[in-house]
Point group: C2
């Protein structure tokens, strides 16, 4: 082998000027590619697909899952890179974009795009500080939540943030800081009334649809309760899903104001109002990880209440082995954390730790729950008493926080408003103001699930029951879900129905039945 | 509004049998879709794209980013779901798969696929336990690492695992447990020799290419050093990239054994041997998060050494403000952690905390570093003395661990083997055994970067310099990178070259020059 010459050319011109931004403008980057809409929904995280043999991939040395900056004619975003290594999905001069990338960049097909490595975000340095055990201040939470809402953090980065904050690693001051940051990142409603009541249920209990009963009771008693609710994320129905089977819920802020001015209350979907927009994004990643973080839960619940302009709020915490909160200790710890942050932000909060051992009422699914709500509001003989009692307990707490009475007196006020039809009339008036009351509808396909043996209902698994209702089509199919025929303690004979599946297609009934067959302990019978 | 009848049909047959797995076999699931290869590389994480209006999406209520089980004719995998909401990328009966999904399922185009929600993995319950502050045992690390290697955890889940283990949250026993689990998850080499030496550099220092000098020195002295190296992950060159410009490195285990039997040493790429396969996957997510976790680093380094069958290992820890390890305290802490786990697994370890304040040698990039290595091995007058000295320091430690001598005597043995040409002859013999020695080559395009002022070189930023070399094309383009003309302390005149960029295309030179122009502190001059 011959000796190899030193690679510095002896005759190199030592003073050649360094060209500034060759062919790329001040932003650097390589030749532009043409934008192609792939139509793929990757949820919040923008994804860009580049060909491995494209000039930009070769020049930049990008590799799959790198975070890169995509510079469009109007805006630039940070996206996760996927690389096309085979096939002909794209031409060499094309770049494919996911729906969220397309939307955020506000593109037209064929628009020119440039690319470069994403600069590390400041907010991730705060996340790392938290990982390494430092406490974060409000400004740091603002930066993190702001970047999450702007789509500048990937799900991998959001996961790191959630884990750094989980397992009791947040101080009370940090929970308050996170709560304020989540409010800050979205819109905040304000009301002309000094006292605005609200309620929230921690969830996990199928059929526990008290809001459409509590709001008309409170409003009929003169309280102001501009209630916004969410759609289901993991459950077979959210309050907004149920209310949507009865009236219009996607009201603008202005339309909602008119309803509240006229009737003292409303029951609308909060999703269109951009209140605490970080919350959904955090919840989705938390769900992937199946992570329950108390600090995150407190910030999630209270940020939405503060953003809604509420001054007094009742929190229902159903507690039971298959509910979201599983033990009394967990419920008490959560309530203390809620109280601490509520106090810090000037919100009056009353907590109810309620029985979360079994579903409430009979219907599980948007329309099926609406039928239960109507039965209670109409004081029908067949109305589920457990739903009525729970709604009255929450309504009494709202009445008390609203200063209309205390203890038994508050309960009596609420019960009277329900019993004498004021609540039902107020409910109809609110629905009319929101766009008209309609029938929830009934599913075309039903199938009973019968007891395989005789016995006493020992327990009902909330989670499995919710899964069965979802497999039957809830909440996507509004009339789908299930109708519960028994509660804990009931005696059943072999062959008697335990619950009836409701679906909008035969296939969905079959699919839910298959799940039920593989999970005999959904309703557990003892001799 | 009319009262609504109770939804339980009075005449429902209460004893209708529940059909088992309607139309879907014992695995349940909906009608099959036909597999389409999208050609998109999403790296390790399998992705499946389904149309929003497909029967399976509607029936299952899947949403974007859900984790779903994909059941093929041969195998089933867990994949992340993306949903096609617009366009005609897929027909209603088709399912699109990323490259990793296609590979793991071992598919033919048009194969029938079924889908269902992924069951929560046991290993994520261990990750949650760690998040909530529990210590993990070896069996739990085995489950986590096994699932990562099998592709059953998403990057979001791997991120949660890494964060749960970062920030000093791992005990020494846990680091050892993780190390063993990482070894367990891959192949493990074994050698007929009782004493097998190895070396590893923590990295972050451009040009610090001591392995191709240390291995022939050790082998020429009779030690057994079957060295496997990695390709670059974040740097402009890994040892395997540099060696690939000189000889063949992608040897099978059998071929590697023959080289080691014949010559006492080898310098091959470890990537094909499946040693500690979790390591790359963890490193990629760590890099996304820019997370440096000491426990993870110890497990990463030592798992590869144990899997390679090494008994004695020298670890070089370059320490400096722009190296991977930034302070003496960090270096000492890392060394203590390395020693503790090495002791627990029966590995003899010697650490060297070396100067990491500036690059080593002159070349940065695969072929450019090979030129430096050859100059040192050939004892050429223009060989970079800093590289020679560092290689000798590591070689002396290897010689001492190998029991051939202590202190100065070990150093003298190594120096003599280099000076009298034994190391160079051994290097040539090893390369011939691996497939033949070749010329590393020289880049067709070069461009000097000149000093904008006269002065003394005060410091060189390792990270920025590495970026410039990567933008010029390294390690993808083998002859690309840069050639450093100065070191710290050198006096330069205005217009004198500081370094010379090397590239295989004009565009890459321009791109690197643009970066250099925007980062004048790569080589910082003082008056």
């Amino acid at each position: 082998m011959n000796p190899i010459p030193a690679p510095l050319p002896a005759a190199a011109s030592p003073t050649a000027p360094i060209p500034l931004s060759p062919g790329g403008g001040a932003d650097g980057g390589s030749a532009p590619l043409r934008a192609v809409r792939l139509g793929i929904d990757t949820h919040h995280e923008p994804v860009v697909v580049l060909r491995a043999d494209s000039a930009v991939c070769r020049a930049e040395g990008f590799e799959a899952h790198a975070r890169i900056e995509v510079i469009g004619p109007q805006r630039s975003i940070i996206a996760t890179l996927n690389i096309l290594t085979a096939g002909d999905l794209l031409q060499p001069d094309q770049a494919g974009l996911s729906e969220s990338a397309w939307r955020r960049l506000d593109l037209q097909p064929g628009d020119a795009l440039r690319f470069r490595y994403a600069q590390p975000s400041d907010s991730m340095s705060h996340v790392r500080a938290k990982i390494y055990g430092q406490h974060l201040g409000e400004g740091q939470f603002d930066a993190i939540i702001g970047d999450i809402v702007a789509g500048r953090l990937s799900n991998v980065e959001i996961s790191a943030f959630l884990v750094a904050c989980a397992g009791g690693r947040m101080s009370a001051a940090e929970v308050t800081g996170l709560t304020r940051a989540m409010v800050q990142a979205g819109s905040r409603l304000s009301w002309a009334h000094p006292l605005v009541v609200d309620k929230h249920c921690i969830g996990g209990l199928p059929g526990n649809r008290t809001t459409p009963i509590v709001v008309p009771i409170a409003a009929s008693l003169g309280l102001v309760m501009p209630k916004t609710s969410s759609r289901a994320i993991t459950s077979p129905a959210g309050t907004a899903d149920t209310m949507e089977t009865l009236t219009r819920v996607d009201l603008s802020l202005e339309a909602m104001r008119r309803v509240v001015e006229a009737e003292g209350g409303c029951m609308t979907w909060g999703g269109a109002m951009n209140m605490s927009p970080a919350d959904d994004l955090l919840i989705r990643v938390e769900r992937t990880l199946d992570l329950d973080s108390e600090g995150q839960l407190v910030a999630s619940v209270l940020s939405k209440k503060i953003a809604a302009g509420s001054t007094h709020v009742v929190i229902d915490i159903p507690t039971g082995p298959t509910a979201k909160v599983r033990s009394q200790d967990d419920a008490l710890s959560l309530l203390r954390a809620l109280q601490a942050t509520a106090h810090a932000v000037g919100l009056k909060l009353h907590g109810i730790i309620s029985d979360g051992t079994q579903p409430v009422g009979r219907g599980v699914g948007p329309a099926l729950e609406a039928h239960d709500v109507l039965a209670v509001l109409q004081n029908r003989a067949d109305a589920p008493d457990d739903l009525r009692q729970r709604a009255l307990q929450v309504a009494a707490a709202v009445v008390e926080l609203g200063g209309l009475g205390r203890g038994q007196a508050a309960h009596d006020l609420a019960a009277a408003a329900l019993a004498d039809g004021r609540a039902w009339r107020k409910f109809q008036a609110i629905c009319r103001a929101q766009g008209g009351l309609r029938e929830p509808g009934v599913a075309p396909f039903t199938h009973p699930v019968a007891a395989g043996q005789s016995g006493r209902v020992a327990r009902i698994d909330n989670r499995l029951l919710a899964r069965a209702a979802k497999l039957a089509g809830a909440p996507h199919a509004k009339t789908a879900g299930l109708w519960l025929a028994v509660h804990v303690g009931d005696r059943v004979e072999r062959g008697q129905p335990l619950f009836v599946l409701h679906a909008e297609s035969r296939g969905e009934i079959d699919y839910a039945l298959d799940f039920v067959a593989r999970h005999p302990a959904i309703v557990y019978l003892e001799e």
